[in-house]
Every structure is written in C-alpha cells, then in structure tokens.
C-alpha cells in the first residue's frame, strides 16, 4: 500500500525565528501591519508500507534521526493513503 507523508516542522514556542521577523519587517515596508509571523517547513514524500500505523512510526523515526532537531523543533506528521489513480 502506498501512502503520502507530510511532515510539518516548526520552531518550539519561545524560540527566536529570525526569518519570520525579517518577513514581518518586510511586510511593514509595504505598509501591512501584521503580528505573530511564523514560518513552518513542510516536507512531503510518498512511501510504501503495510498500514498507516507502521508508516507513521517510520516517519516519526525519520523526524528524530534527520528531519528535525529535538532541541528546537516541534513536528506534526500527516499520513494519507495514496489512491490507485493518483
């Protein structure tokens, strides 16, 4: 069975986000006044496995070993089955 995996990586609460701060300042240059700007990284891929639970475990392992740094990141995993005609 094939699945789509989506990993959403964000900085932990309270962590400085220089990229978001720069974007917010740039928006204000265009005279848009916004607050609480955040940037979130999304990594997507598809993979084959027995069931959703196994896939979730495997992707969680990928997050811990490479995709995220547990000192500064939170992550969310979304797994959806890939339909045959996709």
């Amino acid at each position: 069975m094939k699945y789509y995996a989506e990993v959403k990586i964000s900085l932990k609460k309270g962590m400085l986000n220089p990229e978001a701060a720069t974007i917010q300042r740039a928006l204000s240059l265009l005279e848009y006044q916004v607050e609480n700007t955040k940037t979130i990284q999304i990594i997507k891929f598809s993979l084959t496995g027995e069931n959703e639970k196994n896939i979730h475990e495997e992707v969680d392992e990928m997050c811990q070993r490479l995709l995220c740094n547990p000192v500064i990141h939170n992550y969310e995993i979304k797994i959806t089955p890939q339909l045959k005609d996709e």
Binding site: M15, L16, P18, E19, T22, R65, L66, N69, V71, I72
Partner: protein
C-alpha cells in the same frame, strides 16, 4: 602525531586547518566522509564549510554519514575531537556536544573578527591559554547562534569553552560560542582558530588551539 581532517562535499576550511596543524607541529592528513575506520589517527578535526549545502539544517546531513561512526569510536577511545564552524554544527547535530547552533538573530551571514573569552582551560585545545584570557579570532557563519535549554547544567559541568567577550554578534545564549562534552575532549567552536594562526593573517591567537591538542597526545 597523526591528525585526521574530515572532508565532506562542501567542506572549505580543510586546507587552512591542514596548514595550521603543520604550523603547530602536527602531521595532518585528509579523510573522506565515506571512511569508517579512523584508528590510525590520534586526533580528529572537522573543519568549516557548508557540508551538503547546509540542506535540512547546517551539519544535519554530515551528521548521519559513515565517518561519524568512526568519530564516535575516537570519542570512546578518549582521543581529542575538534569541530570548527560547520564542524561544530555537525558535532552538535550528532549530539556529541550539547545544544544547537542555529540561525543568527539578525538572519545574516556574519564574517568578522571577534574578541573571545576562554572560559575553561580543562580541554586540551584551551590548555595553553589563561582562564578568562581574551583572544582574537574571526567568525564566518549564518547559523552560529548557540541555543541550549539546559544552560545551568552546562555551566555547572564547566562545558562552556568560548564566549564572545564584548559584542555578541549572532545572539548566542549567554554569548556562548564554544562548548565541549563532559570530559572536555570533544570541543565545538564557531570561531576559526586556523584563520588566526599566523601573523600575516592578523592574529596568532588561534594556534594554541592546535598546539594544545598536540601537546596532550
């Protein structure tokens, strides 16, 4: 005194480190990232650069290459390991030193001379300095802001090696820019001692990092 310099695709301070190690009296040689056996070496230096284009996070991909198994063996054998700049980011990603080096607070690449305070002399690399001695070495990085959620532990265990002495250019927590593991033999520093190892470069303050390492061998 054979010292191995690890090269990854994107390493770019390897030859500078080679030169500085020779000046300090060592016998450096290069090792490619796909090696696993480092038992020929008495010490290892991971030089600066942009390994694997800094993709994912600076140092994250180098941290999962085969040579890291060899580095872990060297650590087990209690031989010294020094990570400079990208090498420091790699050691932090592997978890051989605590914390992370992440995006500078101003989100810019900063390349400049800095004044640094030597916070401990218990590591081989800092053994030839005085405690709290202020030295001059350059930094050159975009991801060098040190962060650790256990700063107190770091202080209690004397694991802070270098801190910015005047200005804190990248926003590091408590101005820390060099840390070591518990026994002090694995050291990760963002400033470049190899770029401060000859008078013509503007400072010789960094040479003692390599001399100290060789002296302990």
């Amino acid at each position: 005194m054979k010292v191995g310099i690890i090269r990854f695709p994107g390493s770019n301070c390897d030859r500078d480190v080679f030169h500085a190690l020779e000046l300090a009296g060592g016998q450096p040689s290069y090792i490619w990232w796909n090696q696993r056996n480092l038992s020929d070496f008495e010490a290892i230096v991971i030089p600066g650069g942009f390994s694997y284009g800094d993709y994912v996070r600076a140092g994250a991909i180098a941290a999962i290459t085969p040579i890291i198994d060899g580095v872990k063996e060297i650590v087990k054998e209690e031989k010294p390991v020094l990570g400079i700049c990208n090498g420091a980011q790699i050691l932090a990603e592997v978890g051989l030193v605590p914390g992370v080096f992440t995006t500078n607070s101003n989100a810019k690449f900063i390349c400049k001379w800095t004044e640094l305070k030597v916070k401990t002399k218990r590591t081989p690399f800092t053994s030839m300095y005085q405690q709290n001695e202020v030295i001059k070495m350059p930094i050159a990085h975009a991801e060098g802001r040190y962060y650790n959620d256990e700063m107190e532990k770091l202080q209690d265990q004397d694991q802070i090696v270098l801190a910015f002495a005047s200005e804190n250019p990248n926003g590091s927590l408590e101005a820390v820019t060099g840390v070591c593991n518990e026994n002090g033999l694995v050291c990760a520093i963002m400033p470049h001692p190899e770029r401060a190892s000859e008078r013509i470069l503007g400072s010789v303050d960094g040479l003692k990092f390599f001399k100290g390492m060789l002296k302990k061998l």
